[in-house]
């Protein structure tokens, strides 16, 4: 049922892309569009669930966890979504540029606290770095045999 829906939807999607770019044919495009639709279905589900969650947890995180569970249980084979995921992740740094530009709206609010923000961010980042690494190093040194498997 799930597979059928994806086939139907991706058929529509691929035809739409082919109308726009007649040259862009081939297996890769079909896989990209199909993978994208699978991901969008999870995003839709995640956002739906987020509305009913007792805590304000972002819908895309819930979608990501559902997606991870689907990959792990084999409901979605990795092959279906591998290309589109890699494509989206290599372009990730581009996608949050417009959101970052939005900071210009808050310039007046932030002018006074620019330097404290810089220092605070630096200190807090170092705290996370050192505490996480020290904790991990401590647990791993208590547990030598397991660590050996990685050397």
């Amino acid at each position: 049922m799930f597979g059928l829906c994806i086939r139907l939807l991706s058929g529509i999607g691929i035809n739409a892309v082919l109308v726009l770019y007649p040259k862009a044919q081939g297996v890769v495009l079909v896989k990209l569009v199909r993978g994208f639709i699978v991901i969008m279905i999870f995003l839709f589900l995640g956002n739906k669930i987020a509305v009913y969650a007792p805590l304000p947890i972002p819908g895309n995180i819930i979608a990501m966890i559902l997606f991870l569970a689907a990959l792990n249980s084999g409901v979605v084979p990795l092959g279906t979504v591998e290309e589109i995921s890699d494509l989206l992740l290599t372009k990730l740094a581009l996608f949050f540029v417009p959101a970052g530009v939005g900071i210009m709206v808050y310039f007046d609010l932030l002018r006074a606290s620019f330097f404290p923000l810089l220092v605070g961010t630096f200190l807090s980042t170092m705290v996370v770095l050192i505490i996480t690494a020290k904790t991990a190093a401590f647990i791993l040194s208590e547990d030598k045999p397991r660590q050996k498997g990685w050397e």
Binding site: M40, F42, L43, L55, P56, I57, P58, N60, I61, A63, M64, F67, L68, L71, N72, L78, V81, S85, L88, L89, K91, L92, A93, L94, F96, V97, P98, G100, V101, G102, I103, M104, V105, L110, S113, P116, L117, V119, G120, T121, F122, S124, T125, M126, V127, V128, L129, I130, I131, T132, A133, K134, T135, A136, A137, I139, L140, D143, R146, W150
Partner: protein, 226 residues
């Protein structure tokens, strides 16, 4: 309207592409193409008195892909599932403790500098990968664009200084190094960690995803306490 959207969209892509090319030339972790693009676009908009809303008609098209890209973050975690399973306890414990320390220290810094509630909440997801951090910031009532800036800063700090600081403090285990860098400095830290070694890189990438999930569940708890 369509032309305006296309312009905003194209402009974003072109400036980012220029940033990428510059990064290849400069080869320094201090130069970040996203940061470059944000600064150049803001400068351009201010220069010609273009309001953010007008730019964002097209910018929204680019930003739309953040949602699916965040979902796609599950794929690299899935690929590392064997490493996650064999080291489940050290990974989860250290990232959980590190993330709590990050949230508490972020809030503390915000309070110390006398920031408003919005600014303090924007600092909470500071060490998490940007798409997740933005959504956490939005969900708990921070300022998402401010979070983007702070997250990139965290990444630059962690990527440039992280490995050296850990070595100086005597953390030699590559797994522990990777977990620390990935939890504190997300994707930017991970791109540096990969250069430090295969194990450091793999665990940094894994830590970045796991820390994102853990922080997404921890951060809203602040609303219960505040």
């Amino acid at each position: 309207m369509v032309i305006q959207a296309l312009l905003g969209c194209l402009f974003t892509v072109v400036v980012f592409y220029v940033g990428l090319q510059l990064q290849k030339r400069i080869c320094s972790p201090l130069f970040n193409p996203t940061f470059f693009a944000i600064v150049v676009i803001i400068f351009f908009l201010q220069l010609f008195h273009i309001p953010y809303e007008a730019y964002n008609v097209g910018g929204r098209w680019v930003g739309f892909f953040l949602g699916p890209a965040t979902v796609a973050l599950a794929v690299p975690i899935y690929r590392q599932r064997e490493k996650l399973k064999t080291n489940l306890f050290p990974i989860l414990t250290s990232i959980l403790i590190g993330s709590i320390a990050g949230i508490i220290s972020g809030v503390l810094m915000g309070v110390l500098m006398g920031g408003s509630r919005e600014i303090i909440f924007s600092l909470v997801p500071k060490s998490v990968t940007t798409p997740i951090a933005m959504e956490i910031s939005r969900a708990i009532g921070g300022i998402p664009p401010l979070t983007v800036g702070i997250v990139i800063l965290s990444g630059i700090f962690g990527a440039t200084l992280g490995p050296e600081i850990l070595v100086r403090l005597g953390v030699k285990d590559p797994i522990a190094q990777g977990l620390g860098i990935g939890t504190a400095a997300h994707g930017l830290g991970t791109s540096r960690a990969v250069q430090e070694g295969e194990i450091v890189g793999a665990f940094s990438g894994l830590a970045m995803g796991v820390a994102g999930i853990i922080t997404a569940f921890l951060a809203p708890l602040i609303l219960l306490l505040w």
